[in-house]
Amino acid sequence: MRLLKPPVARVVGWASLAALVVLALFGLWGAPPDAVQSDAQRLMYVHVPAAWIAYVAFGVTAIGSALYLWPRTRSLVWDRVAGASAELGVIFTGLTLVLGSLWGRPVWGVWWAWDARLVTTAVLFFLYVGYLALRRIPAAPDTRARRCAIAALVAFVDVPIVHFSVNWWRTLHQQATVFNPELNAHIHGVMAFTLWWGVFAFTLLYVSLLDKRYRLECLEEEREERELELAIRERVGSAGDAPREPVGVSK
């Protein structure tokens, strides 16, 4: 019913909260403004970690899907992990896009740019959204699991192709020079620390949320099973004495 043992989950939960508070302190106050981007740099301390988690979550969904499909490791646990991670992924991806946009406006002067990273992230967002739509379709647990697992892997395989092709497209047209990578290669000191701390804090948060979402998934599956049990019992009961043999066997 849970990915982490309750005491561990509690610790991770509180640790992630503490880490996020520390991140805010450093990100909004402790770290100096950037020489080029000024205070807009501070958005990087949430944008980059969010992007990191967006891709990690997607990876987890892919791994969970693969493990489900592999006969030796087939278990609905992996399916639930995949589904839970996808929901987190769509949230972090959406956040990445919005934060990137908020950063881009003051620094680039535009809300959006057609560079490889942004476009790939946008496609990733839609791949997630499609997966979640598929997941909502009611079906028997293993049917749904298999169908979603295949869809997740099909999408996962596509991401590097999208990234590669968009990157190629945009560098060929030499727009890339204007929109240089938002991270200076020479980021160092407090700024580098804050960025890495952000990645760390968001990772803790992701683990904590994944555990919770997994738990919710288990509870809802359990509820459906029990409701089905109850419905069957009622049906069987209303036909007279509840037979101990399977329904349909004539006496």
Binding site: L127, G130, R147, I150, V154, A155, I161
Partner: protein, 224 residues
């Protein structure tokens, strides 16, 4: 019967149904042509805008038509227990996949021929460098047909499949749109050497998704 003979059987069935019902010719093709027309309404036909963006418009139209073609391909299996018959037929999932994808590809190629002519006539485009245009178009079409068939069977038993398949399929085939458009642009600009890398990408995509489809179609058909 080997895989290819079985696939030919399935493709033949689908194409024969098309020959009798003429849905592709009488409905999907006009849809494609209307979309091309609408682009002219939406954009400026007099300033060379259409001519410049013609490859992109062409391929977007092809993708939209492909959505319909995929939908149709699985709609014919939805009636009269045809899907059950397919499952019980003893045909290998791989063969059925290749057959259905092949039929969709054939239909798309026919559509592309007419829509391509439309683009040449309506948008004053001069197609050139057939040596690179043809491989690019073939690879792109196979990629779209394979991926479409994969998602088509995935959603086959789902009631909301009409609205679900587009949202699943289009993001995945975005690289195909990208590559095919760039290849056509290079061909039209008489710089075919620029197009070959994109042909490479399109081919990789086509091979990859045909492979995935061959593996996944059978299990997905069982579940649908």
């Amino acid at each position: 019967m080997n895989v290819f003979q079985e696939a030919a059987l399935v493709a033949g069935k689908d194409l024969r149904i098309e020959a009798r019902s003429r849905v592709t010719v009488q409905q999907i093709l006009p849809f494609g042509l209307i979309v091309l027309l609408l682009f002219a309404f939406a954009l400026d036909p007099d300033r060379g805008v259409l001519k410049r963006v013609a490859p992109g418009l062409f391929w977007v139209t092809v993708l939209l038509a492909a959505l319909l073609a995929v939908s149709r391909s699985f709609a014919i299996e939805a009636e009269h227990g045809a899907r059950d018959a397919l499952r019980l037929s003893g045909l290998d999932g791989t063969s059925i996949f290749l057959g259905k994808a092949g039929a969709i590809a054939a239909e798309l190629l026919a559509l592309e021929l007419v829509l391509g002519t439309g683009v040449v006539l309506l948008f004053s485009v001069h197609l050139a460098s057939a040596g690179v245009l043809v491989p690019a178009t073939l690879a792109a079409t196979v990629g779209v047909a394979a991926t479409g068939t994969l998602y088509g069977v995935l959603a086959a038993g789902i009631r909301v499949r009409e609205t679900l398949v587009p949202v699943l399929l289009l993001p995945v085939v975005a690289p195909v749109l990208l590559g095919a458009t760039r290849a056509w642009e290079a061909a039209i600009d008489h710089t075919p050497s620029d197009a070959w890398p994109w042909v490479g990408l399109l081919t990789v995509f086509a091979v990859l998704y045909t492979g995935i489809g061959m593996l996944a179609f059978g299990p997905l058909l069982e579940d649908s």
